[in-house]
């Protein structure tokens, strides 16, 4: 009897230790999982290929859905050889008053981004402070950070739900004073890891902006978002974007992301789709 008790006690102890270890491990894998999911989604969202070039067509709509403004630009992006740093070059074609303007960003992971703008009428290269990434991008519902992508390390992520098709992830900013939202939810496609929907909430828990993917295409074997929109839930205004003529791994040279090429527009790339 005593013997049995001793055995039971040992068993119980072992069982609980195992259970504890198991739960710890499970917790750990879940934590691992959500980071993995977010990182994978981030790669698919903004880092496909070594470089990419495409035309951006942007319709800015009022609350009645009428197109009130249109922007067209050529967007060139190149990933740094390692890490999450990137360089972005955008050449504006529309509207007419900013045609030929160039906007360049060095997305840095450890310090503020470096940003330049080139105004050809004055031959003026102007540096812009990289600290404010949350203001509107050329009057659209997108902010600058939506264009170049928000680094996952700026938020803490929580896997809220896993459905048959999606991972539903809640992301809360670590530094709330730098952003206008309190948290956001992202729906990530389980198969492709494309973030297909994202909703931003304000501090009252009300919906602020909603990002929605309208079309995903396989381009050079990369799952690529080719049509998407952002709606300001509170005002009803929205911006619809189409990515046209997308090309990956075209061999964009590093040197075009320099002040030199703000003035000396790389025609070969900026007009890549005109040939």
């Amino acid at each position: 009897m005593k013997q049995k008790n001793k055995f039971e006690m040992t068993f119980n102890k072992t069982f609980f230790v195992l259970l504890f270890l198991c739960s710890f491990a499970m917790q750990n894998t879940q934590a691992q999982n959500v980071e993995d999911i977010v990182n994978k989604a981030n790669k698919v969202f903004k880092y496909n290929g070594d470089d990419r070039i495409n035309v951006v067509n942007m319709d800015i709509k009022n609350k009645n859905g009428k197109v009130v403004m249109n922007r067209e630009l050529v967007l060139i992006r190149k990933n740094d050889a390692s890490g999450l740093g990137q360089k972005w070059y955008s050449y504006f074609k529309k509207p007419a008053d900013i045609r030929k303007m160039v906007f360049m960003v060095w997305k840095n992971t450890k310090k503020d981004d470096d940003r330049w703008i080139y105004l050809p009428a004055m031959d003026l290269v102007k540096r812009l402070a990289g600290s404010d990434k949350r203001s509107s991008f050329v009057g659209s519902q997108f902010v600058y950070e939506d264009v170049t992508g928000r680094l996952p390390k700026l938020d803490t992520h929580e896997l809220i739900k896993t459905t048959d098709d999606y991972y539903e992830v809640k992301s809360t900013p670590k530094n709330t004073s730098a952003v206008e939202f309190s948290y956001f939810y992202t729906w990530i496609d389980k198969k492709t890891f494309v973030p297909t929907k994202r909703v931003y909430y304000d501090k009252n828990g009300d919906k602020q902006r909603e990002y929605r993917v309208d079309k995903v295409e396989k381009i050079q074997n990369y799952d690529t978002i080719t049509a998407f929109s952002m709606t300001n839930i509170q005002t009803g205004e929205s911006t619809y974007v189409n990515y046209i003529d997308i090309k990956y791994n075209v061999g964009i040279p590093d040197n075009i992301f320099t002040e030199t090429y703000l003035r000396r527009v790389p025609r070969k790339w900026v007009s890549y789709n005109k040939k």
């Binding site: 503020d112 004055m122 540096r127 404010d132 509107s136 009057g139 000396r264």
Partner: protein, 430 residues
């Protein structure tokens, strides 16, 4: 002017033939020829703006300092290794009662190699780190346009020049050669009145200043150079200039004309992302060659110029920029000792603070901005408020002012006080 028009004509002929050749090639290849497929881009705007003075000016007969409508047309033709640009302004200037054609840019830009490129012809050139203040940028500025309320792009006037850029592995080197000196466009009295220290009197449209032209080709030339490098996001540059003061800085004692004495400038600049904003520094040494010792009162003295700047974006589309600017006479004692009797004694230091505030509202369609200069040493100021609203992508309305004020009638900004103006403008871009 005739030669210019001839070149315009020639250029347009070339463009036209390019067009036809390209069009033929296209139509041969494919049936569905589209205008937009042509390797020519054109764009432009129509802008009408009018600005009355806020007070009557005893030295000017016209109560408007600005009243004009202009059409700007720009044509570009390019290949992978070259670009031709032609930008022309057709202006009806009702303030002057004249029709004008102003060729703003007409240049050929060749980029045959990644090691160098060259731009030949009439071009707009800018470098340096100042915001509406210039230290090492000795390219011509049109201060008159700036003071009467034309669009900001007109602050930069053109140079007829050759610009060569060489890309070396460790830095970039630019040289600009201007065969015939291009001065600033400065007030002469014809449109804006100001104080002429050489005459010790205000100058207006009844007594504009006389200037000795110094634009003989290959004789009155200027050279600008810059060596530039980006080190981990920080822009570093060295600059040089050999030419003439860009605005009159000398007096011809024989005929009383104002002149552009010889000038050389050497300087440096730094700019980077620091303290949550863009921090910049620029310095230049202006060596007045014709008066190296500073003993000739009829030629402006050598001086040091320093500029320190900081700009930052705050939240909600609000940004600000602040600059400190200082000019310091090098041989001040010599200057004081050789002043003509009765002449006002200038300060050794002229320094200034500028402040820029910009706020965007209504989906960035409404822009409120204020740029102000305040001179600490002179106790005078120049304020440039501006409001613009984009009705659509194409249409923009704008209103603003140019307000000069100060204590003493003869200080740099306050001498323009009779020209205080407000203006309105309407622009259609296409």
């Amino acid at each position: 002017m005739k030669t210019l028009l001839f070149y315009c004509f020639l250029y347009q002929l070339i463009m036209l033939s390019c067009w036809q050749i390209q069009a033929q090639e296209k139509t041969e290849k494919t049936e569905d020829f589209k205008f937009s497929d042509l390797p020519i881009e054109w764009q432009g705007f129509i802008d009408s703006r009018h600005g009355p003075r806020l007070q009557s000016d005893p030295y000017q007969s016209n109560s408007f300092s600005l009243s004009e409508t202009r059409l700007q047309l720009q044509l570009d033709h390019w290949t992978d290794a070259s670009e031709i640009k032609l930008k022309t302004d057709f202006i009806y200037d009702s303030q002057q009662g004249k029709f004008l054609i102003n060729l703003r840019e007409a240049n050929l830009f060749l980029t045959p190699s990644k090691w160098f490129d060259v731009k030949i012809g009439r071009q707009i050139l800018t470098w340096g780190k100042g915001d509406m203040l210039f230290v090492n940028d000795l390219f011509p500025k049109d201060w008159q346009s700036f003071f009467i309320g034309r669009e900001l792009e007109y602050l930069k006037s053109y140079s007829d020049a050759v610009k060569l850029t060489v890309y070396l592995p460790w830095f970039e080197f630019n040289t600009v050669y201007v065969p015939a000196f291009n001065s600033d466009v400065f007030p002469t009295g014809k449109r804006l009145s100001f104080f002429n220290p050489f005459q010790n009197a205000f100058v207006g449209n009844s007594n504009p200043i006389n200037i000795t032209k110094q634009n003989t080709w290959f004789k009155n030339n200027e050279i600008h150079w810059r060596a530039r490098k980006n080190v981990k996001g920080f822009d570093l540059a060295l600059y040089g200039y050999y030419g003439y003061w860009k605005s009159p800085a000398g007096l011809d004692l024989q005929n009383g004309n104002l002149t552009f004495p010889k000038l050389s400038v050497h300087g440096l600049s730094f700019e980077g992302n620091l303290f949550k904003g863009i921090t910049s520094f620029e310095a230049g040494y202006y060596h007045s060659i014709d008066d190296a010792n500073g003993e000739d009162f009829s030629v402006r003295n050598s001086q040091w110029i320093f500029l320190l700047g900081y700009t930052r974006d705050l939240k909600n589309d609000l940004s600000f920029g602040i600059q400190y600017y200082a000019e310091m006479v090098v041989k001040y004692n010599n200057m004081i000792n050789t002043l003509p009797t009765g002449a006002a004694k200038p300060n050794r230091l002229r320094d200034m603070i500028t402040l820029r505030l910009t706020k965007l509202l209504v989906k960035q369609k409404l822009k409120l901005s204020l740029f102000s200069y305040y001179s600490i040493s002179d106790n005078d100021a120049y304020l440039r408020p501006n409001v613009s609203y984009k009705l659509t992508d194409a249409w923009k309305i704008e209103a603003g002012g140019n307000l000069f004020m100060g204590e003493n009638d003869t200080t740099f900004w306050n001498q323009f006080q009779n020209n205080n103006n407000i203006y309105v403008g309407l622009k259609r871009s296409f």
